[in-house]
């Protein structure tokens, strides 16, 4: 009903305007104004952020300087051009003169741009040397890119965890309303203290990724087998969001970065809690779980970790991402199933080892889930301690 009213109004609107240009502008406007989001996002943002670090403000300054130089040159060049296009047209009776070649003019328009370039190169060099200041930081964080998530290791403490997209599939598939941080939200953000020089050591586990947080003006490639370093000194507490900036496969658009910068005291509390959590997880390995506990936990793990490739229905996208439903491994001997998750596939690099990525509890849970879902009906389960023994025996 509402739709019909809208249609009537729109068509009435178009009947009143005749000129095609107005018509198409109106169409454009209608389309854009229909883009109403149920959440309040910052629309029509058109410039780079100034960010929250001394480096990012510096970079923003460079960006604006070079931009205004370009505008100035454009005004001169396009000014002359439009002047000549309006005044010197044949239709206005302009007679062509025949002048060409002028050494003086040629020298001027070679030297002037060169001088402008030098004026720009000086501050750019200064900030670059500052960005490359690799002096010891107050703390080091190892960042590892995985297809398609980030791992953060706090060097010098045993805190280490993965950070992956937390936007539900329902929102991506347009089945529910998108939240304000759609595709820019993670299950566990990176947490850092403010007013400290944080050194980031960046690498990757599989393909090249790139860790980018615009508010820090930090973008550094994560390259498998090599470690890059960069740093940030954050002034203000807050939540800062970025995305992977190097094509890394299917879910490249779905591995955001979220950094939470906290005052030192709050950061210390967070770190202590995180350390306690790590200890607790290690204890869980020795516990025995019921089938239902494992199955429920397994479903969560599967949907967070495995479903990106093997799909929620377990059918995968063959041949790169094989089906688990009815597969030889998931319906075969349990050791084969353990092997592929702990050691990865020997034939298909897309199936990497999940030994470091998932806890023993999670591996036990997800194996139990996979063997008893989508028509797989093995009825068996494994305990976390079995996983630990399998690993300690050398994974045979």
């Amino acid at each position: 009903m509402q739709f019909c009213m809208l249609l009537n109004r729109v068509s009435g609107f178009f009947q009143r305007i005749k000129k095609p240009t107005t018509w198409s502008l109106a169409l454009l406007f209608t389309l854009l104004s229909q883009q109403s989001f149920s959440v309040d996002v910052d629309r029509w943002q058109y410039n780079m952020t100034e960010g929250v670090t001394p480096v990012s403000r510096d970079v923003y300054g460079l960006h604006m300087d070079i931009f205004w130089w370009c505008v100035a040159i454009a005004v001169v060049v396009f000014g002359v051009m439009f002047y000549t296009m309006i005044v010197h047209r044949k239709a206005n009776g302009a007679k062509a003169s025949n002048f060409h070649e002028s050494t003086l003019l040629e020298i001027i328009w070679t030297v002037v741009p060169f001088v402008i370039l030098i004026i720009m190169a000086v501050p750019a060099t200064k900030s670059l040397i500052n960005i490359y200041d690799h002096k010891e930081g107050d703390m080091d964080i190892l960042i590892t890119g995985y297809q398609w998530k980030w791992k953060y290791d706090y060097i010098g403490s045993d805190v280490s965890y993965f950070s992956s997209l937390s936007t539900p599939q329902n929102q991506i598939r347009n089945m529910s309303t998108k939240g304000v941080n759609y595709l820019l939200e993670v299950d566990e953000p990176l947490v850092i203290p403010i007013k400290k020089k944080i050194r980031f050591l960046i690498t990757a586990n599989d393909v090249i990724h790139s860790w980018w947080v615009p508010d820090f003006a930090v973008k550094r490639d994560a390259i498998p087998g090599y470690i890059n370093e960069t740093w940030a000194f954050v002034d203000e507490p807050g939540t800062y969001r970025g995305q992977c900036a190097e094509l890394c496969g299917k879910n490249h658009g779905f591995m955001p970065i979220v950094v939470e910068a906290l005052p030192q005291a709050e950061y210390d509390t967070w770190l202590a809690a995180k350390q306690a959590e790590t200890l607790k997880l290690q204890e869980l390995t020795n516990q025995t779980f019921t089938f239902d506990e494992l199955y429920t936990q397994g479903e969560t793990v599967y949907n967070n970790v495995c479903a990106a490739c093997h799909q929620v229905n377990g059918e995968g996208i063959p041949p790169m991402f094989p089906s688990i439903a009815g597969s030889k491994i998931a319906t075969g001997a349990i050791n084969g199933h353990l092997d592929i998750i702990v050691n990865g596939s020997k034939n298909n690099p897309a199936m990497r080892s999940f030994s470091g990525e998932l806890s023993e509890v999670d591996i036990a849970a997800v194996i139990t889930y996979q063997r008893n879902s989508w028509g797989n009906n093995m009825g068996d389960s494994v305990q976390p301690i079995d996983i630990l023994r399998f690993k300690e025996s050398g994974g045979e």
């Binding site: 996002v41 490359y132 991506i172 941080n181 595709l183 550094r220």
Partner: protein, 518 residues
């Protein structure tokens, strides 16, 4: 056999032809077909990006589309179109009877359809088409690639062979077949820019062949050029690729400079302002193109000395490029200007290519590039130099020389309609990308946050508009060939160049006796 025999009849005319005009025509039609195919892929991308959320295609297929769009446009549309123009125009411009190596000419064209059929067929293979971007960075394109990567490598080899043969032919023609009196410094700029381009091609296509062969070895023969686990380095791939890739972008723009330098003097009715400085500027750009490649890699973690070197060298390119733009503007200054379709496209070229140059200058500033790199700002930049740059110059060339080729004049109203729709469409498509990029949208993503939604919707609308406008171009060209009104031999008012001394249409064989150069 008489020296003045006409073309053979039927399909064999095209299969066996060694005539530079026939081969030029083949190249041009082929590249137009590829332009429409690559454009269709771009529209799939823009349709998916019309709104946030996944609507039409899966991310896996999205990556195949971005990859195929880039590969087809670069290797299938822009490069063959310029080779087609070279084939048609270089012998006419230097007073030669044909290309120097006519049989090789046939061969270098006819392997292209095979290369692109193979490349396109990967879309129907198990695991899909190449999905690692047109820059195909290892290890995404080696260890993690779909099986079709091998076909991609083979296709690239064939394209490279075709380009190398084409370049050898162009160099041999220019250096050996000039009419008496046509000294190097009397050659039209289009011939000059192509001579320099051909040298660039010979220098870098083997590098591309090398890098894809190293990939092939890594994938099938257990080498580790690009795998750190075996002592290799993924960044090595990028160095080798961009050593090819940066000269490659000049390969796509230098002949365009030649076209524009031919068209602007004709419609300003005034000689080119600084011929010699244009030749020297082109040579400097070609030289600089070899020492700036790592500006595509400012974020890989090069040492600061490397960053500085590549930043300075890149900024330096602004100088000879500026010389060119200033030359075109001064050529127009105090001329007697008319705005026929080729001139409209050329003027748009100068303005919009300069805008692409400005964003290029911004990207050269390494610290700022840390923010721009791999965002839509870069996508905006290179589309501004490629679409209103390379593509507009090709379209301008077609409108400019089509009357000479087919003997018929195109319809000016339709030409202008094509221009204005293309102009509005492309700016609507690519200008908002500057903003979405600066706002923080990475390139090559199938879905995005709502903060980028408005810019993306504008881009998508513009893209379909631009795409539709090219169908008008196709219609224009066919209508001109089939029933355009007869063109005069000179076509334009006192244009400069040997090609205008010939009848329209240019006879099947021209300059069998060398012309006199005044």
């Amino acid at each position: 056999m008489s020296a003045h025999h006409g073309p053979a009849k039927g399909i064999t005319r095209w299969l066996y032809t060694t005539n530079h005009k026939d081969i030029g025509t083949l190249y041009l039609w082929f590249s137009f077909a590829m332009f429409l195919l690559g454009g269709a892929f771009a529209l799939v991308i823009r349709a998916e990006l019309f709104e946030p959320g996944l609507q039409i295609i899966e991310p896996e297929f999205f990556n195949q589309m971005t990859t195929m769009h880039g590969l087809i446009m670069v290797f299938g549309a822009v490069m063959p179109a310029f080779v087609g123009l070279a084939n048609w125009m270089i012998p006419l411009m230097i007073g030669a009877p044909d290309m120097a190596l006519p049989r090789m000419n046939n061969w270098s064209f006819w392997i292209l359809p095979f290369a692109f059929t193979m490349l396109t067929s990967t879309l129907f293979m198990d695991g899909g088409a190449p999905n690692f971007g047109w820059t195909f960075y290892a290890p995404l394109s080696t260890t993690y690639a779909p099986p079709s990567v091998t076909f991609f490598i083979f296709a690239v080899h064939i394209m490279g062979a075709s380009s190398i043969m084409g370049s050898i032919n162009i160099i041999a023609t220019i250096l050996n077949l000039r009419a008496p009196g046509m000294t190097l410094m009397k050659m039209p700029l289009f011939v000059w820019t192509w001579l320099i381009t051909a040298y660039l091609l010979i220098a870098v296509m083997p590098v591309l062949a090398g890098v894809v062969t190293m990939m092939l070895m890594d994938i099938h023969f257990s080498t580790s050029f690009f795998d750190a686990a075996g002592g290799g380095d993924p960044v090595l791939f990028q160095h080798v690729f961009w050593f090819f890739g940066h000269p490659e972008v000049y390969i796509m723009i230098l002949p365009a400079f030649g076209v524009i330098s031919a068209i602007i003097p004709t419609f300003a009715r005034k000689p080119l302002f600084g011929y010699a400085s244009m030749v020297y500027a082109t040579s400097s750009i070609a030289f600089l193109s070899f020492i700036v490649w790592a500006h595509h890699m400012f974020t890989v973690g090069m040492p600061v000395a490397g960053e500085l070197f590549f930043m300075y060298a890149t900024m330096l390119i602004a100088v000879p490029t500026g010389v060119k733009v200033f030359n075109w503007v001064t050529t127009m200054f105090r001329g007697s200007i008319t705005f026929e379709t080729p001139m409209l496209f050329s003027v748009a070229f100068v303005i919009l290519f300069t805008i692409g140059g400005f964003s290029g200058l911004m990207l050269a500033i390494a610290p700022a590039d840390f923010q721009y790199h791999d965002t839509y700002f870069v996508v905006a930049h290179f589309h501004y130099v490629l679409v209103p740059g390379a593509i507009f110059s090709i379209i301008a060339a077609v409108y400019y020389w089509l009357p000479k080729w087919c003997g018929n004049m195109y319809n000016e109203t339709m030409g202008k309609a094509h221009f204005w729709t293309a102009f509005v469409g492309l700016n609507l498509t690519f200008f908002p990308m500057h903003f979405s990029g600066l706002a923080g949208m990475p390139r090559r993503i199938p879905d995005y946050n709502m903060m980028f939604a408005d810019w993306n919707m504008l881009s998508s609308i513009g893209a379909f508009f631009f795409g539709a406008s090219q169908l008008l171009f196709l219609f224009n060209v066919i209508a001109t060939i089939r029933n355009g009104r007869k063109a005069s031999d000179q076509v334009w008012e006192n244009p400069e160049g040997l090609e205008w001394t010939l009848p329209s249409p240019a006879p099947y064989h021209t300059f069998t006796a060398p012309p006199k150069i005044g």
